[in-house]
């Protein structure tokens, strides 16, 4: 651990020689035998008796007597000397010529090596890591993270679909006027499913809350006018009374009544003012309670589903009435299709039943597909059809429910502010009420 002395100055060399000379004198070395100055080389070596190069202040045992100086009894102590080594470092040598700084760093390195070995032994042997011959990549996986990610992925896929469900716009039952439809959305087009009997384009409307298709079919020698409607919320089926009262004095033509609404598609209803009986409920409000005792009353509930109850006092004992679930009722009938099958009631076949069921007359009906907010309006132009045949034709469309409304000259189908069927007897008659479907998309 000694650094070679290198290129010391003459003054430094003289000082070295002086000190060295003092050392040699005290040990009895003859000057004649040895002249350090003559033999001193600039690289810090001297040549001894053996002509071998030796370092100044060598600590080798061979040179110790000649160089390292007198023993302590001689009283000379080499002071601590600092030199510039070959590497440019300052080297301090103690009286024994040993490199004091090197001594400290050497010991430190040894201690560090031992500590490192101990730590290595401690880590390797007891834990058996050396024995763990194979680990799979799953050792780096955490089951919690894996499962939570999987669950979140599953949930996220479902939520993405759910959140794609469009918002459902709602109309307040108390709203007198609903939002106006988008005029540009009234179009005509060829449809893959619904086709006019003359192959002309069908009428079509669609916005975020309602979709309507209107087409005509020829059945049993009569033109059937259909309007298929999808709505997003039950509040979009509206009913309106002229002047909001049931009175024969308060009547108007259907296109006028419809024109005062913002309906997209509509139809004549039960002309409730024509008779003095039949339970009428409009927007949850009971307008008339007098019963006929025989009619089928069509009930439209808050879920947008149609059903029937008899027009008698038991109506007011029904759960659906007591729970306040009824939005509208229609009082004409009979029910044509119930639970996908033709109603076998005599109300469809008795010539004396309401609506002249056995005559060939124009007809009108409101229907529902399943329990969806998916409906069908239907009118039959003159010469018309019997009520039973009407029920059978309606049943072939696949509706779950169909209810007969006032036919004859009353039967009127309305779309985009105009009548789109051929009304009997040359033109529409005035009436007390209509029903219609409105958009719920608010106007900007």
């Amino acid at each position: 651990m000694k650094d070679k002395l290198h290129l010391i100055s003459d003054d430094e060399a003289d000082e070295l020689i002086r000190q060295f000379g003092q050392a040699t004198q005290s040990t009895g070395i003859n000057d004649q035998d040895f002249n350090p100055k003559d033999s001193f080389s600039h690289d810090g070596h001297y040549y001894g008796e053996d002509d071998r190069q030796h370092e100044v202040f060598s600590t080798s045992s061979d040179d110790s007597a000649a160089i390292s100086g007198p023993d302590s009894e001689a009283g000379y102590d080499f002071p601590e000397q600092t030199f510039v080594s070959e590497g440019g470092k300052n080297i301090t040598r103690d009286k024994n010529g040993a490199d004091s700084k090197n001594t400290i760093s050497s010991a430190g390195r040894k201690v560090g090596a031992v500590i490192l070995c101990v730590l290595l032994m401690t880590w390797l042997l007891p834990s058996g890591n050396v024995m763990n011959l194979q680990t799979t990549s799953s050792s780096s996986k955490d089951r919690f993270t894996f499962f939570q990610n999987a669950s979140n992925g599953l949930l996220s896929d479902s939520l993405n679909e759910i959140h794609r469900i469009p918002r459902s716009y709602v109309l307040e039952l108390s709203d007198v006027l609903t939002p106006a439809p988008d005029e540009s959305s009234f179009t005509e087009r060829m449809d893959e499913v619904r086709k006019n009997y003359d192959d002309t384009p069908i009428r079509y409307y669609k916005d975020d809350s309602i979709e309507v298709k209107c087409w005509k079919e020829m059945r049993q020698g009569a033109v059937f006018n259909f309007s298929e409607v999808w709505i997003s919320h039950p509040s979009q089926l509206r009913r309106t009374l002229v002047d909001n009262v049931i009175s024969k004095k308060h009547r108007d033509f259907p296109q006028n009544i419809f024109g005062r609404t913002n309906g997209v598609v509509g139809m004549s209803a039960d002309y409730c003012a024509f008779r003095a009986y039949g339970i009428v409920i409009q927007f949850g409000n009971v307008i008339r309670t007098k019963t006929s005792g025989f009619m089928d009353i069509a009930v439209y509930d808050k879920n947008g589903n149609f059903s029937t109850l008899k027009d008698n006092p038991d109506f007011f004992e029904s759960d659906i009435y007591k729970n306040g679930d009824i939005i509208h009722t229609f009082a004409f009938g009979p029910m044509l299709v119930d639970n996908y099958t033709v109603n076998d009631s005599t109300l469809l076949t008795n010539p004396r039943a309401q609506g002249e069921p056995t005559r060939h007359d124009p007809r009108a009906a409101i229907c529902q597909f399943d329990y969806d907010k998916h409906y069908l309006l239907c009118t039959v132009d003159a010469p018309g059809i019997t009520m039973l045949d009407f029920a059978k034709e309606i049943q072939t469309t696949g509706v779950r429910f169909a209810y007969n409304l006032d036919g004859g000259q009353t039967a009127t189908l309305l779309y985009n502010k105009e009548i789109i069927n051929i009304v009997a007897y040359g033109g529409p008659r005035d009436m007390s009420d209509i029903l219609y479907f409105a958009t719920a998309v608010p106007n900007d």
Partner: protein, 208 residues
């Protein structure tokens, strides 16, 4: 001897010790030690009981224990259904040479991949229905429109999951896994494979 030499000798001795410890030196066997078949059955029994800490005792270098509890209504339900789905069956005898062993096991689990599509469809159907009904607790009304709340959407997904799990077998997968074991420090340890790990976790293919 100089300190340098002593240190060098110490390192040599250390290296020798490490080498010896790495050797597969047969150890003397004392008493009754578990057979590899018992290890496999105990492992899967623990998994089927949901005792993953117990299952870890039979594994080498990996843990099935969950570091946290599963959170969220939907995730908690899903996890419960996953645990209920586990079952296994050994296929044939365990082959062993005393240090290595292997066998095949059929493991059945709730496969989340099979569940995904039906869950999406049913959740959507329920969601549409709740929107049209404006079902309380699931929807909110804003700007004259009704839409599902985030909380409502998650509840819907959980309800859809409950409905599908009425017939859970449809969503179960059974796969054969090759189990490899090593005899180490007096017992047999199973090497967990990626596919078994994923099956225990439901097998859902994520983008990880």
């Amino acid at each position: 001897m100089t300190i340098v030499k002593r240190t060098f000798c110490l390192l040599i001795a250390l290296a020798a010790m490490v080498s010896l410890s790495a050797c597969d030196m047969p150890m003397s066997i004392v008493g009754d030690l578990p057979e590899p078949e018992e290890t496999v059955t105990c492992f899967f029994d623990s998994v089927c009981e949901g005792d993953f800490e117990g299952a870890d005792e039979y594994l080498s270098g990996v843990s099935l224990s969950m570091r946290d509890k599963v959170t969220g209504v939907f995730s908690q339900k899903l996890y419960d259904y996953l645990l209920k789905s586990y079952s296994y069956q050994l296929k044939g005898p365990v082959k062993s040479d005393g240090l290595d062993a292997e066998c095949a096991v059929d493991f059945t689990y709730l496969d989340l991949n099979l569940l995904n599509e039906d869950l999406k469809n049913l959740s959507t159907k329920i969601g549409k229905s709740y929107i049209s009904e404006a079902k309380e607790g699931y929807v909110e009304k804003k700007d004259d429109a009704i839409s599902l709340t985030d909380e409502g959407a998650e509840k819907i997904a959980a309800e859809a999951l409950d409905s599908l799990m009425a017939t859970p077998e449809k969503y179960y997968s059974t796969k054969t896994f090759k189990m490899r074991m090593k005899y180490s420090f007096g017992k047999w340890l199973i090497y967990m494979t990626d596919d078994l790990f994923e099956a225990i976790s439901g097998g859902f293919e994520t983008n990880d």
